[in-house]
Symmetry: C2
Subunit: 120 residues, 2 copies
DNA sequence: ATATTATTTAACTAATTGGTTAATTAACCA
DNA sequence: TGGTTAATTAACCAATTAGTTAAATAATAT
């Protein structure tokens, strides 16, 4: 998982990590408070690892305050995702019927060797 | 990787798969044409697996046309990602200075640094 | 100093991923 | 029929991931 966008998407591909971001969207929160909802499901080291994935992906910034580690969302990685998404906006905003029509017709002549063109 | 959003993000967390989506954004393409740019790097079965990940995540739809499998982008999974992203728009659209200020102040009294503050 | 609280690191394990080659399925073509 | 093309499946392997428990680090509080 080398490039930035890949590690960001990878970090988002887990419901525990997304729930942590949801909590952080309400404001700075330290590790043990972030952990609280999950401690029945998993241990604190597991939480710590999830936070490291988020931090390495640039989605959060962890700071120090006495023995606590307040975390907050870092907008930049989210911006990278948003920017990447923009090029596909067409695909979810168009009506699906028109989209299908568009995709089926715009590439008619690239199909290759089928002379009978068995399209539906 | 159970829920839809997780498998969608997971599918996007790979540069080969994102490159395939980029190609598909120009129109329907069958498997061997999609594979072409990658055949120096990996085998056809590897490509086939990547496409299965995209398909299982709902990001593409694979159809049949004679011995070819034309693939096209499915907007719905991308819409799910876009909808999820919306709740975080604030974090990448605000100026970073103001964002930091906001996060630092809105939760001042939840820090626990203040001595008599034994939370909940 | 010592104890307590917050968090991370180490060492380990099971499950998953991403690739391989070889075999198989499926449709077309002559 | 047999041969070719397109794509998938099977069997396997190495690397990574996601969790565990136990130990270590670090700051605060007594």
């Amino acid at each position: 998982m080398k490039d930035n966008l890949s590690s960001t998407f990878n970090a988002l591909a887990d419901p525990t990590r997304r729930a942590m971001l949801a909590k952080l969207s309400q404001g700075e929160t330290n590790v043990s408070d972030l952990a609280k909802p999950f401690l029945k499901k998993m241990s604190l080291p597991a939480i710590s690892k999830h936070l490291k994935v988020l931090e390495d992906a640039g989605l959060i910034i962890k700071t120090r305050e006495a023995q606590w580690r307040p975390c907050r969302i870092n907008g930049e990685a989210l911006k990278d995702v948003s920017d990447w998404m923009e090029q596909y906006r067409f695909f979810w905003e168009e009506s699906f019927d028109r989209l299908d029509e568009y995709l089926k017709t715009m590439t008619k002549n690239k199909k290759g060797k089928n002379k009978n063109e068995t399209k539906k």
